[in-house]
């Protein structure tokens, strides 16, 4: 359980995180989504007790991250972004070391159990320097799971993994989400959509949207453009649609017509269907255009970037790179 209220973190004059509020429930995976440099890592560092907030409060597992830092740290498993590890230790020794600092009983059994859970039992006695990037990531994850924490905070755990490892890690995170509060940051949208029960989208230190993937999709479906395809003369149909009060603009696109609704708030689809069928056309297709989370993401981050030079191209590039990984 994570509750964040009006949290800000300032470095000098720069707000890394500016007045954000959200919550993450137990038994769910909460995705923390945003372009690079949006404030994801800073927020996670506050939640894990590494960095104190400048203002606002954050409670993790019922404890305040600043006032009761040690209580929070006892209950949180954290995988930092670059997965720092002692390269000269073996995976198992590393876990034993962390277990001893945490004061765990039966460290050996715990270490073996988490190594098995991340599928690394066979390399338990290999020095970390000899492990591949994906294996190191799993050692880091094992370290986060070692004390069976209530809350798991994973900072971009899929970065630098190959596609198969990414899939494995996602299913592991999903599985962990069933009995833990998991917070998981990523800049890859399709990943968040697949893994998370709830999404918090952050950009330039501020939260621009939050909700379940379905909610976010529904939200943007209202007021989005609609594609119409019908049997009959396209040009006359276009003229018909352009004359309707709910339509701002109708354009021909191949054998279909793209309709831009007049109002952002209303769904024009039923009115369109009535008009088309009433005029004697056979309606083949009527659907909102391009409502997937990528569009929402780009739309939202672009809106909140309007003050500064917008970089939708950069966001687009990031997303495409993400889709390739997931493909």
């Amino acid at each position: 359980m994570i509750e964040v209220e009006h949290l800000s973190k300032r470095y000098g004059d720069v707000f890394a995180v500016n007045d954000i509020s959200f919550s993450a429930q137990g038994g769910q995976v909460t995705g923390f989504l945003g372009p690079n440099g949006a404030g994801k890592t800073t927020t996670m560092r506050i939640l894990t007790g590494f960095t104190p907030p400048s203002s606002g409060t954050a409670r993790v597992a019922g404890y305040d991250v600043f006032e009761q830092s040690l209580d929070v740290r006892r209950r949180v498993g954290y995988l930092p972004e670059n997965v720092p590890l002692y390269r000269d230790m073996t995976a198992r020794d590393y876990l034993m070391y962390l277990g001893e600092i945490r004061g765990l009983k039966q460290r050996g059994a715990r270490a073996d159990a988490v190594l098995a859970r991340v599928g690394l039992s066979s390399r338990a006695h290999s020095r970390i320097r000899t492990l591949s990037k994906g294996m190191r990531q799993r050692v880091g994850l094992a370290a986060a799971l070692l004390h069976d924490p209530q809350v798991l905070i994973l900072d971009e755990p899929t970065i630098g993994l190959d596609p198969i490892q990414v899939l494995e890690l996602r299913s592991l995170v999903k599985e962990l989400g069933r009995d833990h509060t998991v917070m998981f940051s990523t800049h890859i949208l399709s990943e968040a959509e697949q893994v998370c029960d709830k999404l918090v989208i952050i950009n330039r230190g501020q939260i621009v949207a939050q909700g379940s993937p379905a909610e976010l999709r529904a939200e943007l479906a209202r007021g989005s453009r609609v594609l119409v395809r019908a049997v009959g003369d396209v040009e006359s149909l276009r003229a018909l649609l352009a004359g309707l009060s709910v339509v701002a603009e109708a354009q021909i696109d191949g054998d279909a017509i793209i309709v831009t609704p007049a109002s952002q708030a209303d769904d024009p689809r039923s009115a369109l269907a009535h008009a088309i069928i009433g005029a004697g056309y056979e309606l083949l297709e009527l659907r909102p255009l391009a409502v997937n989370l990528e569009d929402i993401f780009i739309e939202l981050t672009r809106q909140s970037q309007s003050a500064a030079p917008a970089t939708p191209e950069a966001a687009q590039a990031t997303l495409q790179e993400g889709s390739e990984v997931s493909a």
Binding site: T48, P52, P80, N82, P84, D88, Y97, E100, A143
Partner: protein
């Protein structure tokens, strides 16, 4: 306590597995050994020649051996401590440790006690020289005990001072140079105090500087077998203050953007 012990054990293990730590110990012992055998040799010749105004005693040879060792701490201390904290900061493992349920002090104190332990082992190696001297001459037990206790505390204080720089910078070389300068300044402060003592208007400062210097609490006191509470208090205070300061500096990482 768990955490302190865990950090200490790991760090001692790192020292005893590190080729660099062995190289430092080897270099130091080689230097001390060459100097020791040369000085024993010349002392024996001089004593036999009959020209010596005073015979060179085993105590004197023993004292000069340890005096050289503590003098060399301006090189040894920074070499042993330079990576202590800077490496963890650079590798990012400090972030992991600082999100574990332990105080920053436990981490720093564990590190310090580990390097002091390694130094203690190096110091114990010089017992070989001491036992040899006891074989060819007669050593005063009080002098040996006082000098060793002093060298042990002196080493701990210089290691703690050099460690501060390892927390300040992530660059080991920079940490080593600054640590070396710090220890050397505190060593030479004794000479500065003597210089200041020659002028009336700086005489007050001279006492102050002398009390601050490492040498004044070792050279003419513990090295001679004189164990004074004020000298022990000085070294212990330096260690506690340095560990405390290092803890504070490590803590500032939480407030810095990195």
């Amino acid at each position: 306590m768990n955490a302190l012990w865990a950090v200490y054990k790991r760090e001692v293990g790192v020292f005893f597995r590190s080729p660099i730590a062995y190289a430092i110990a080897f270099g130091l012992m080689l230097f001390l050994g060459v100097l020791f055998s040369a000085s024993v040799n010349s002392a024996v010749l001089q004593n036999q020649s009959g020209f010596a105004q005073q015979p060179i005693t085993a105590d004197l040879l023993f004292q000069s051996n340890l005096a050289v060792l503590v003098f060399l701490m301006f090189i040894v201390a920074p070499l042993l401590t330079m990576r202590l904290i800077s490496e963890e900061a650079r590798e990012g493992t400090l972030e992991v440790l600082m999100t574990l349920p332990m105080g920053d002090w436990a981490f720093v104190l564990g590190k310090f006690l580990a390097v002091w332990t390694f130094y203690t082992v190096i110091l114990a190696l010089t017992l070989a020289h001491t036992l040899m001297l006891d074989g060819i001459g007669v050593l005063d037990g009080g002098v040996v005990f006082g000098a060793y206790l002093g060298a042990w505390l002196y080493g701990g204080a210089t290691l703690a001072l050099a460690m501060i720089w390892s927390a300040i910078t992530e660059d080991q070389i920079v940490a080593a140079f600054l640590g070396s300068a710090t220890v050397l300044v505190l060593f030479l402060a004794d000479g500065l105090a003597q210089l200041a003592g020659t002028q009336d208007f700086t005489r007050g400062a001279a006492n102050f500087i002398r009390e601050l210097s490492l040498q004044s609490h070792y050279q003419n006191t513990m090295l001679e077998g004189i164990i004074r509470a004020e000298d022990i208090a000085y070294f212990v205070f330096v260690m506690i203050a340095a560990v405390f300061l290092t803890t504070l500096i490590v803590g500032t990482r939480r407030w810095r953007a990195s």
